[in-house]
Assembly symmetry: C2
Homo-oligomer: 290 residues x 2
């Protein structure tokens, strides 16, 4: 096992001081990263918090002021829909050999767009499978990525993909490689769909409450709170993810509605045997997760 060298990046710029960007910076420091960690955010208040909490060494809200000569890794940690714009804006400032990566939840075509924009610089798509329903740099979690998967959406290994893999491994992440389009299908299924379902469930309960003139939220049974916890996730982030990964999200919603319509049909028909079969299959699959 090699010692921690964090891929030998000498200086890192985190663009977007939210929960993930902040947790990335915080974890780097606590794991012993010795290079500089800079932050960029348009919101001055966030920079102040990040500096005061010693999450970053220095923050900026203008690209002109950043000491680009110190930076050989840039991490995009803003909402996914801003990535192309930011890539265009930062490209003229980048030092030769600087690697650009991200922590965004949507990959697919976007990865190829960013590679085209940033060429000859190397863009490497990355997605840490970690988070909380909280937002903001002030809620940054030290060690957020420990034991969590980190998906690199690359087609072949390069010197720089190996460096980035080493950096994330040194933060405790389990790095896995996936095609950018398969990535979007997988996370539409296991993350975007469950979020859509949670938001829709709460919406349905609001409507059902109105229908009968009773506040259903006064009766959260066992499981209900767990179930809707993710409905408290950031509306602006999730609005973007749904739209950015529209094709896969809609496909998985359709597949889910088919499953639910089928379940409903079996309930209507009181088909006990088929119901038990579906419910048992679900239980088995769910138990494998534990």
């Amino acid at each position: 096992m090699k010692s921690k060298d964090f891929g030998n990046f000498k200086g890192i710029l985190v663009i977007g001081l939210g929960l993930i960007g902040g947790s990335f910076a915080k974890s780097l420091k606590s794991e012993g990263y010795q290079g500089k960690i800079y932050g960029f955010d348009l919101n001055q208040a966030r920079i102040k918090i990040a500096e005061e909490l010693n999450i970053i060494d220095k923050g900026f809200s203008s690209f002109e002021e950043i000491p680009w000569e110190d930076i050989d890794l840039v991490i995009l940690a803003t909402p996914v829909k801003t990535f192309e714009d930011i890539a265009k804006q930062i490209k003229p400032f980048l030092k030769e050999g600087t690697v650009i990566s991200d922590v965004g939840s949507v990959k697919g075509e976007l990865v190829y767009k960013l590679q085209a924009i940033l060429e000859p610089f190397e863009f490497i798509g990355a997605h840490p499978i970690a988070g909380t329903e909280k937002e903001g740099v002030e809620n940054s979690v030290d060690g957020l990525f420990k034991g969590k998967k980190l998906i690199l959406t690359i087609e072949e290994e390069t010197e720089n993909t190996k460096r980035l893999e080493k950096l994330w491994t040194d933060l405790g992440a389990k790095v896995e490689v996936m095609d950018p389009f398969m990535h979007d299908f997988v996370f539409a299924s296991v993350s975007h769909l469950p979020h859509a379902v949670a938001f829709a469930l709460v919406d349905a309960l609001i409507k059902l409450s109105k229908e009968k003139g009773i506040d259903l939220f006064l009766y959260p049974g066992a499981g209900f709170k767990d179930f809707t916890r993710i409905a408290a996730s950031s509306p602006s982030i999730w609005k973007d993810i749904f739209i950015q990964n529209k094709k896969d999200v809609i496909h998985t919603i359709d597949e889910f509605i088919n499953s639910l319509q089928n379940l409903k049909k079996l309930i209507e028909e009181e088909n006990e045997e088929a119901l038990i079969k579906i419910l048992e299959e679900s239980r088995e699959k769910r138990r494998e997760l534990d």
Copy 2:
């Protein structure tokens, strides 16, 4: 505050030694109930476990053998669909003045049916809003009902409803009165619908895994595990609940599908403003729960 007298019931028979029946008996003992606690179950192994764990004083698997003269409260804790049959079977044995109640998740018409069957004995519908996704008397939880709601589906107070209320209050439950039909609507919305959604979600992920030849369950992102925890609930219990509360369950599934179809439409149209509005409304409602 009156001292704990558990409604002055002298002997209690729990019919059905599962998680809820077991937790009820276990909690009675630990809270200092001094009367006898008998158990009934067709499964001898469960009786043995319940006796060995000192959850009940004595268990029976034949109604003839039960010392009915010692019993003035019977709690139905078997699957809801067995209630009518059991009521008919036990009625000839009941001592004058014995109260019959239950811990079932479905009320509505069933309450009136049981009252008709058991007359002149008093049947009082009760539903403790507590549970875990585990099953079986061996997983009984001491104090399961502490701080939890207990719904009594009664139309007017009687001496016996007050006694039953006292018993549950002495176990730490917060007793609330509700019309039996409103009860079924409320729990279809906050419990049965979320369970149907969780089962359908896991089912959809199984299908989506097959579609792309990838095991999606290897990628449980943040929130996903919480979300599907309830999909590990008992298939036989949930099959019964769905069928017993069919009308309300189907109505709430339809309402939920409407909400999800609407969300899908907004994603397709990339209607950012309307998406943010729905997502924010959901977040607010969810946050009120904490």
